[in-house]
């Protein structure tokens, strides 16, 4: 059956053959289709990087802005028109490095948007330098003696910030990736899905096989609702747990906190300024 989120004609995709991004795209197309969202109400937002090219390859509206700056516009788009489904996409460098501060503060605002981070532990577009998540010891064109910095743990970070939907998946499992993407989009509030993905060109250590060997699916009985135990779970490394690690519904979304939507849900573009009110305000200055 036809997928309205895909293109009718073949498109030129700039990713390397064999790149994990293709699997993520396949999962995302599947998720959007199965969610049955009205196409004109979906907006993809990204910064810069190989992952950030994703909006170009999905047949919807998009805002493909600056490196690291995906989340501020995504937050504003949702706040300006809460009827839109807003999905931000980026790589580990884009979202956790250049955009790290925006990531921290987006979690505080808790806009009802979804963030997919392609996690390949290396910089792809700039050809092989270390990412904030690169594992220690990897030699790169810049980190010539090997990376020694502690890798950032986005899952633990997000849970510590009380992001109410925190998941990690491996793109090699397209079905699970799609399933969790759907749940993330449906989740009310900020949702993070960190997606393990091999970079076939620049990361010869964290390969498809490495991710497969160094991760495991959370058992069926796992309860993601307890934040403290979810945090403990998030500290596990090699093997990394996969699935929804933390989920809660106790926070109110950013848009719901905004005064302007408390009694009137009309998106901003449909609103008109009442000049009589402006004139009346000027009169108070007499």
């Amino acid at each position: 059956m036809e997928n309205v989120f895909d293109f009718e004609n073949n498109i030129d995709i700039a990713w390397c053959p064999g790149c994990g991004d293709f699997s993520i795209r396949k999962a995302l197309l599947g998720a959007l289709k199965e969610l049955n969202l009205p196409k004109e109400k979906v907006v993809l937002v990204s910064g810069i990087g190989q992952a950030a090219k994703m909006p170009q390859y999905i047949n919807t509206s998009f805002f493909n802005g600056l490196h690291g700056r995906g989340l501020p516009p995504a937050t504003a788009i949702k706040a300006s028109n809460p009827e839109l489904t807003v999905i931000a996409v980026g790589g580990d460098g884009d979202m956790y490095g250049e955009g790290g501060n925006h990531f921290l503060h987006a979690t505080r605002r808790n806009p009802d948007i979804t963030l997919f981070v392609h996690e390949n532990m290396v910089y792809g577009l700039t050809k092989g330098q270390a990412a904030p998540t690169t594992r220690p010891g990897m030699k790169t064109p810049v980190q010539v003696s090997g990376v020694f910095e502690k890798p950032l743990n986005p899952i633990a970070l997000a849970i510590s910030l009380d992001v109410t939907f925190v998941a990690r998946v491996f793109c090699g499992d397209i079905e699970q990736t799609k399933k969790i993407m759907k749940e993330a989009v449906l989740h009310k509030g900020f949702a993070l899905v960190d997606i393990f993905q091999p970079c076939v060109s620049f990361n010869k250590i964290n390969t498809f096989k490495w991710f497969k060997d160094n991760s495991y699916n959370l058992p069926d009985g796992y309860d993601p609702s307890d934040r403290a135990s979810a945090f403990n779970k998030s500290l596990e490394e090699e093997p990394f747990p996969l699935g929804i690690i933390y989920r809660s519904s106790h926070r109110t979304a950013f848009e719901e906190n905004l005064e302007i939507y408390k009694t009137d849900k009309t998106p901003l573009f449909k609103r008109e300024i009442d000049m009589r009110k402006v004139e009346a305000e000027l009169k108070t200055k007499i």
Binding site: L66, R69, A79, N81, H102, L268, F269, E281, I286
Partner: protein
């Protein structure tokens, strides 16, 4: 000896941060204007929360006068440091009034504000005593003062209201019985119908009238008052006001808001703006509207955080990598502050370019009375289209302006990309398309020309000497030139800075002598004039010590050139 003051009175209040200068100013401004006096006030303060010395100048005049004066007729120092702080401006004819035991100044007229306040219950009422004192000097009816005070403190409990009323009575009695000064300033019924606004108010109300419904900012002097005032109005006018984590986030959030159909304002100062420049470039590439208010202060770096300067024109003119059109406005009067801030939203929406409103500390922190604005003709123009299925955000329109769609309104897709893109918004490296897109963006310059506001001439059209200025200096320069009383000198003021109005060359050509006045060290606007018209202005009056020009200073400087 009795000092006679006619038609123009300059009072300076000076004290430590936290002593309540603003409280006195806020009482006096409303009360004096309500009584029919032309009122002007401006404040200068140190970059500290407590201590130091700050001062507020209050001008009361028979004719409307909103220029900063060096002369001080009456100085009211609230602490001893005030004398040292203002020593360059204190002359033989300055009357100093204050508490003799606290202020070390020989010829002080002793008025015990604090003691009078304590008699009413607490020293905290001394600001109200001081305000009452000035009202007494001006012989304002005591009933009017009392009524105003009760209204001013209406939110407070009964005890506070009664004690403040008592404080204003005590101060008033002391003022009216002081025989050393005889003040004679004309009142006018017209003034009673005027608005009383600060520069910040004018920008804020203009933005609201422009349909602003999303404000992004990060606190930074001297732009913070615009952010805070809009926050106060946010509920009444349905505005989202967000304090963002940093200025990089500020500008990107504002662009996202415009993309989704909001009308967003960014407010900042030079240092914050410097962080936004990549976002300005993105604005140029995705042809987004964006209205940005920049209240200038002296740089480089942290500079003088609470002082004034017109030093960021070049920054705004060249901010952002790559080539793309922009509009720069710089209001001089409160009316311009309102009308240009309103217009900025329509211009930005129509031409899909960043529009900068360039003010400075002197502009935002000065208040005065001004005739009511004409709001009949203004409207908020959206310039948004409902998209069709095959909509292309960057269609190659003749005039460079592609109809702007927003996501969720119509059946089309709205694709914005920071890479060079084709008409639909998809990344391209096709060099022919690159040329088409560069040309399309550039064409908007020509379209903008039809909207340009020409400079305003103050004085005779057959001038021989032309004094050129821009932005916040106009009230000072116009008053100085009027005071010189020479018909052959006129003032040309620019509130539309860029693209430079086509009329500029014509005005300059007619002048035998051209003088530029700028609150910076390198005459940045003169550089722009030279670049755009070829005219070189060599007679420069420049000031960059962190303070605004005074009327007297401009008079003296112009005299050196004529």
């Amino acid at each position: 000896m009795i000092k006679n003051i006619s038609d123009d009175l300059v009072i300076v209040l000076a004290g430590e941060a936290g002593q309540g200068l603003q409280a006195i100013e806020s009482i006096l401004s409303s009360l004096l204007k309500r009584s029919g006096y032309n009122f002007f006030s401006t404040s200068e303060f140190m970059s500290r929360v407590r201590g130091g010395t700050n001062s507020t100048e209050i001008r009361v005049s028979s004719k409307s006068a909103a220029g900063f004066m060096d002369r001080i007729d009456i100085l009211i120092p609230l602490h001893n440091g005030a004398i040292q702080h203002l020593k360059k401006r204190i002359t033989e004819s300055t009357i100093v009034i204050g508490e003799k035991d606290k202020i070390n100044y020989g010829k002080i007229i002793d008025i015990q504000f604090t003691k009078m306040a304590a008699e009413t219950g607490s020293a905290i009422f001394s600001n109200t005593v001081a305000a009452g004192f000035i009202c007494g000097l001006l012989k304002i009816d005591i009933k009017e003062c009392e009524n105003f005070i009760l209204e001013h403190f209406r939110g407070k409990n009964e005890d506070i209201k009664i004690k403040n009323a008592e404080a204003v009575r005590k101060g008033h009695a002391a003022g009216i019985s002081l025989k050393d000064i005889n003040i004679n300033i004309k009142k006018s019924d017209d003034v009673k119908q005027h608005l009383l606004l600060s520069g910040a108010d004018s920008v804020v109300l203009g933005a609201i009238a422009g349909g602003c419904n999303y404000v992004c900012g990060y606190p930074m002097s001297p732009s913070t008052s615009v952010l805070e005032k809009l926050a106060v109005y946010s509920q009444k006018f349905d505005i989202i006001v967000e304090q963002v984590e940093d200025e990089v986030g500020v500008v990107n959030m504002a662009l996202g808001a415009w993309y989704a159909g909001a009308r967003a304002l960014v407010t900042t100062s030079g240092g914050g703006f410097a962080l936004m420049t990549e976002g300005i470039s993105l604005c140029g590439m995705i042809e987004s509207p964006l209205v940005l208010h920049l209240a200038q202060r002296p740089g480089p770096a942290t500079g003088l955080p609470t002082r004034t300067e017109q030093g960021d024109l070049n920054l705004v003119l060249y901010a952002g990598h790559g080539e793309f059109p922009r509009i720069i406005l710089a209001p001089g009067t409160l009316e311009e502050g309102f009308t240009l801030s309103q217009k900025a939203f329509n211009l930005s929406a129509e031409y899909q370019v960043p529009v900068f409103i360039l003010t400075d500390q002197f502009f935002v922190d000065s208040s005065y009375n001004t005739p009511q604005f004409n709001t009949v003709k203004i409207s908020s123009e959206k310039h948004i289209v409902e998209t069709e299925k095959d909509y292309k955000r960057f269609s190659l329109a003749q005039n460079g302006i592609s109809p702007r769609g927003i996501p969720g309104y119509g059946n089309g897709k709205v694709c914005a990309d920071s890479d060079e893109h084709d008409e639909a918004g998809y990344i391209t490296e096709d060099s022919d398309m690159r040329i088409k897109m560069v040309n399309k963006r550039h064409k908007k310059f020509d379209s903008i020309k039809s909207a340009v506001i020409p400079p305003k001439l103050y004085g005779n059209a057959d001038y021989k000497t032309l004094v050129v200025c821009w932005g916040s200096t106009i009230n000072i320069v116009a008053e100085a030139v009027e005071a010189l009383g020479k018909k052959e000198i006129a003032v040309l003021h620019f509130s539309w800075i860029y693209p430079l109005p086509d009329e500029t060359g014509g005005y300059l050509k007619k002048a035998g002598k051209i003088i530029i006045v700028e609150n910076n060290s390198s005459a940045q606007f003169a550089q722009l004039i030279k670049l755009s018209t070829g005219y070189s202005i060599d007679n420069k009056i420049l000031k960059y010590n962190g303070f605004p020009f005074s009327v007297e200073e401009i008079i003296k400087e112009i005299k050196q050139f004529i």
